[in-house]
Subunit: 155 residues, 2 copies
């Protein structure tokens, strides 16, 4: 496979992701641990990523994260046990609860945000501001096309 060359987008995306995610995950792991949040694993961050400030239902988090309710339920239960999230009954629907951050959850969020912002700064510095913005625009265009394709395939 390797010898087919590395010259298309479909080949590039997974590799770029692999590289970037290792950088980011390492930085997050270290930074969170240093800030006292060593019990947050990458999968937990996927929950945070799709949880709005004001909270959300399990089903909505799962839909946004494109995962099953059970998978998210498992992670949310852990985060609840560890004090990052809490559930409150949804007044408007007796079946549902609203999942939202505790103070500890918000504190962890801030750390994550800071680390990501720092990493972005670093990349921007190396690429130059203009090139960085170009690339961001490119990612957006590509995302739009890929999302359209995904929806069309029902994937």
């Amino acid at each position: 496979m390797e010898e087919h060359g590395d010259f298309t987008i479909a080949w590039h995306i997974p590799r770029l992701y692999g590289w970037a995610s290792r950088v980011v995950e390492t930085q997050l792991q270290d930074g969170l641990a240093a800030a006292g949040f060593g019990d947050l694993r990458p999968a937990h961050l996927r929950v945070f990523e799709h949880l709005p400030r004001h909270g959300a239902r399990l089903t909505d988090i799962a839909r946004r994260a494109q995962a099953t309710k059970q998978a998210i339920g498992y992670l949310v239960a852990e985060l609840e046990r560890r004090g990052y999230l809490e559930r409150v009954p949804d007044a408007s629907d007796g079946r549902a609860s609203i999942i939202r951050r505790t103070d500890r959850g918000r504190a962890a969020d801030e750390v994550v945000f800071t680390i990501l912002a720092r990493e972005d700064q670093e990349w921007r510095r190396r690429l130059g501001s203009k090139r960085y913005d170009d690339i961001l625009a490119a990612l957006r265009d590509l995302s739009a096309v890929v999302v359209a394709r995904r929806e069309e395939l029902g994937a």
Copy 2:
């Protein structure tokens, strides 16, 4: 987290990957199954992706794929059992074997390549050739920067 906005590259990459990988994985899964390679799972493809034509040692595959030798060893053993890969002793080192594709492995490889090329064609069509090439160049620049960062961090 979500409310911090979606305006940096570090935020964009995982999402783009999530979308793209769903499209590509679906296409691969279906296409491989149709071609008689229904026993290849996504994790197996990560081995193929980092296995040069001429073969490689387990350790080298693991290093390229940024995974542990054990994780790769597990997948390689499956691929061997299913007839996609074979091991031959490494003449230059009595501890090592060279892992390489069988005919069946090469055939599966071709299918993967064809499917990825088709998907790329589709994205190129939608973006326009010029924009597609711009975006590819952007991904390359970004990759280079991210790899440099990764190596510097030892991640």
